[in-house]
């Protein structure tokens, strides 16, 4: 615990030594330090502490050490850059390989979904009463029947292979 008999300027010693007081505070403190033995002593010790730390704690690395550090930094940055480029390349390579299978799977999905939604009236019995028969186009090998669903406003085609052709 701090002594209660301590000078009231005591706490300003640090900022005074560090030149962190305003001009008027600095003048007051300078005057005070001249007349207060305790604060004079504290200012002196604070300045010497700084000096001793600077003299003994500043360690300058050798040029070899700095070179070694830079080499490590350079390697790390170069590797990470290569890694990113490499990563991009590898993703593209895999995408190219998978492209065929992705396309095939997508086509299969489209066909399946299409079949489910627009299932043929003849086979599944989905032809409702509101499906409106539009026309029948007959040829030697096949008959094409055209229906229109009023709800979806969609035309449904169905191609029958004529028995005679098979």
């Amino acid at each position: 615990m701090e002594s209660s008999s301590r000078c009231k300027y005591y706490k300003l010693v640090g900022p005074f030594v560090d030149n962190e007081l305003s001009d008027s505070q600095k003048q007051d403190m300078a005057l005070h330090v001249e007349n207060c033995a305790e604060c004079f002593n504290e200012v002196n010790k604070a300045q010497q502490t700084g000096l001793l730390i600077r003299e003994n704690l500043i360690v300058e690395p050798t040029n070899d050490a700095m070179r070694e550090i830079w080499e490590n930094i350079h390697t790390e940055l170069t590797n990470s850059h290569n890694f990113k480029t490499q990563q991009k390349r590898s993703v593209l390579k895999h995408f190219n390989k998978a492209k065929f299978w992705i396309s095939a799977a997508a086509a299969l999905i489209v066909i399946s979904v299409g079949t489910l939604f627009y299932s043929f009236p003849y086979k599944t019995g989905n032809l409702q009463s509101n499906h409106c028969f539009v026309e029948s186009i007959d040829s030697a090998s096949a008959s094409i029947m055209v229906f229109e669903t009023p709800k979806n406003k969609m035309t449904v085609f169905w191609i029958f292979e004529n028995e005679s052709s098979s």
């Binding site: 640090g14 010497q48 730390i53 360690v59 690395p61 700095m66 550090i69 830079w70 350079h74």
Partner: protein
Amino acid sequence: MAETDAVLVEKSLEGDNESFKLLFERYGKRAYAVSYGILQNSEDAKDAIQNSFIRAFRSLHRFRKASSFYTWLYRIVVNASIDLSRKRRRTPETIPFEEGIQNSSTRLSSEKGSFADPSNICRQTELSDTIQKAMEGLSVEHKAVITLREIEGLSYAEISQSLECSIGTVMSRLYYARKHMKTYLEDYYKS
């Protein structure tokens, strides 16, 4: 004429490694001194500045050119050193006796331009050890404050920015750190 930090940052952003190397050469040693002050271990200090410069390079695009590059780098170095200190909690390295004597001898000889007095060498080595012990007794936050103030000579406002804390906190940490150092250095003060 040497290129400004802003120009070197700009060129580094365009992928010019040489420009970033120049920034490293300009500030690497100062960054090391700060890191060593906090970590008290040369290997850890090396790791910390290595990580700091890598981190700085990767976030260069976030650096606002209006501010000083080194103030921005300070924050990264201090944070990297504090992080590393918390992670490792390694004991500070001890300088081998002969090396310590050699360092002190070189320093004293170069200062006075003559052969050093052996008693001075011993006293110098003892003082270095005392300062290191005193620093060991401080928390990493207190070490950071005293290093930035005494070694780098930053103002309270700059320290508060670097450590992302208030000026009041900086003042109280500095007050405590100095009080702590004083108890160890009492025998070395000249009246």
